[in-house]
Amino acid sequence: MGSNLATSAATAPDFAARASIALADDGLRRKFRRAMDGLMTKRAAQFPDPEAWTSLRARGAAIRRRSLARLPQLLEQLETRCRANGIQVHWAETSADADRIIQGILTDHGVRTLIKGKSMVSEEIHLNDFLAEHSISAVESDLGEFVIQLAHETPSHIIMPCIHKSKEDVATLFRDHIPNQAYTDDVDALTATARRVLREQFAGADAGLSGVNFAIAETGTLCLVENEGNGRLSTTLPPLHVAVMGLEKVVERLEDVPPLLSLLTRSATGQAITTYVNFISSPRKEGEQDGPREVHLVLLDNGRTRIFGDPQLQETLACIRCGACMNHCPVYTRVGGHAYDAVYPGPIGKILTPQIDGLATAGDLPHASSLCGACGEVCPVAIPIPNLLVRLRGEAAHQNSASTVMGAGARHSSVEDWVWRGWRLMHQVPLFYRVATRVLTRIGNAMPASLPMLNAWTSVRTKPRFARRPLNELVRSRGFDHE
């Protein structure tokens, strides 16, 4: 039930409408609340010492900023080193380009079945649907991704894609989609079933696809982080490996990896390290018995170079995709991932999606925040997400031909302009302010609750009661110095 509601929420026109649908689903809210509570507790347990957290975070933040400061050079270095190692490098300006490049590689090798490790970039470029149109079947092998693929849904969290599914939901999906599978909601049994089914898929796959957590320019190495081993299988068993990454994921040196890795796994799932950390530096070498014969790396732009052009918004690209911002977000916790109708939900999605897709389509997302600051506080690379939300709100509201943000001014409203002009006048001129506060305190309570804005407020609250006299008037009578 829950998932049906969540899915229908994704089709509503804007965040407010989708959120309302999601909020009505008690089961969904319980699942997210429980999961987020667990993740917050586990993360907190990983950072018991504030000083150690501060210094590690400062290091991680500086590594990512250094990588961005030298991004063009590092990408060239990465390409050179990868090529020297035998990894073929491709550049894609758009999602469509990346899809075509990957499909081209697969078609050249006669691939009919592609086994996939978890990759959010492959979600971003909607690769599975594109490949299906070209008669290539893409099979998700991460357990969570496998579940949502069976359900024909999208991930609701970047780290735990099927967080919106109960074990009963999974049991039903398995029974309905896997031959001879009886209903069981025992998690161990479900996991064993997935192992059995996916082993066959791995054995039969013509190619494997993965994402990349960090690409190391110094050595031409792709670093992949995971717990299940499906990432290793996807990148080792089939004869061809295609890795796809956002071009911002490059770091300078191998020694940059340990602090980032530590921040990533502790922030994401509260683990000191994941079960597997995989450093891939080349295809199978002469004499080696396994590993793919070819490794291809696809570097995706899809708006990232545009984001890079703005010194403030560039911080968006420091992200290491740990998901801690969504785990700690009071809005995400209540509405779940599908309400964002975006590949990347939660706080990072609220700044990334409008910059990739444009403010015309995603301009409401920066407002889907109370600016509580929890995301910025836990971000392991100190991305000032709340400030970037505010910046994007401004970009959406103001027509500015010089703006580099796609869809700048798309949410412009003359009424809103006038409201803020009036607000400014009232608060900038002391006489106006004193008169306004005197008037409001005397007649404000007579305002009908049906007024726009006030009716939104009173849907769950009583009308605010204005005081009889404002403080600026009372201080005089109480003998305080006022100058």
Binding site: R334, S370, R424, W457, K463, P464, R465, A467
Partner: protein, 250 residues
């Protein structure tokens, strides 16, 4: 971490627009509490709003104009005490970026560096000693997001409440979680905001406290309104008012 200044002879009080309109008693209580610590309190009459509402909606120019009025209204080098962590956070954290590249950037930065949150100032600068004269009561505290995350105020209000002999302080299950106010967020996304404040009210109710206190009037408007609408018993008010009443009988 905000450096702790010397206790001044005189300081400014910034009342905030929400206090002007909805909670003037909280402002008076804050000023009175400070006056009783032997400091002269000055309330500049040119003050109005910190500018946060416009800033948060992306109207930086309007926010800056109003912020400039505040900067100009507090010209002397005295500390500026604010009975709101949110407004204090706006001034301390965001004025420097709001004025970046402006002719008066240095002035705004100096102003920002003088801004303190009320309970923090009472604890660290005044080193206030409280003597409780009230009846036994059970209370809880909701700290605003910006008081915690921008002003670093977490333990201070709790320490003040724990100092009161007849007050039983019970913390919330989720003390760091947003109440769902968020200024215009509460009316742009009323359903989400409503779900958040409903959870906050339930958290407050679960403490069994007769009063929920806060250092921020935005949260108070939201929480008290939701408590009243849902028929949740209990009172919500500013911590300054509560401290004044307990220690000085108002």
């Amino acid at each position: 971490m905000i450096p702790i200044p010397e206790k001044p002879d005189t300081f400014y009080f910034f009342g905030t627009c929400l206090i002007d309109l909805f909670y003037p008693e909280a402002g008076l209580a804050g000023m009175e509490l400070l006056r009783r610590q032997g400091i002269r309190v000055v309330f500049p009459s040119g003050q109005s709003c910190c500018g946060q509402p416009a800033r948060n909606c992306g109207f930086a120019e309007e926010a800056r104009a109003v912020a400039r009025q505040q900067v100009q209204s507090f010209p002397k080098p005295w500390p500026i005490v604010v009975p709101s962590g949110s407004c204090a956070g706006m001034m301390r954290e965001h004025y420097p970026e709001l004025f970046a590249g402006e002719a008066d950037e240095a002035e705004a930065r100096a102003f920002a560096g003088r801004v303190y949150e009320l309970t923090w100032f009472l604890v660290h600068v005044c080193k206030i000693a409280l003597s409780d004269r009230g009846e036994p009561v059970r209370v809880t505290f909701h700290g605003s997001c910006h008081s915690q995350r921008e002003m670093g105020v977490r333990e201070e209000p709790r320490a003040l409440l724990r100092d009161l002999a007849n007050v039983t302080f019970v913390d919330l299950q989720r003390p760091a979680e947003c109440c769902g106010f968020g200024g215009t967020f509460s009316v742009r996304l009323p359903a989400v905001s409503g779900a958040m404040v409903a959870d906050k009210v339930a958290d407050i109710a679960a403490t069994g406290a007769a009063e929920v206190l806060s250092g921020d009037c935005g949260c108070l408007l939201n929480i008290s309104g939701a408590m009243a609408k849902s028929g949740t018993p209990g009172r919500a008010r500013h911590i300054a008012e509560f401290l004044m009443e307990r220690c000085y009988g108002k």
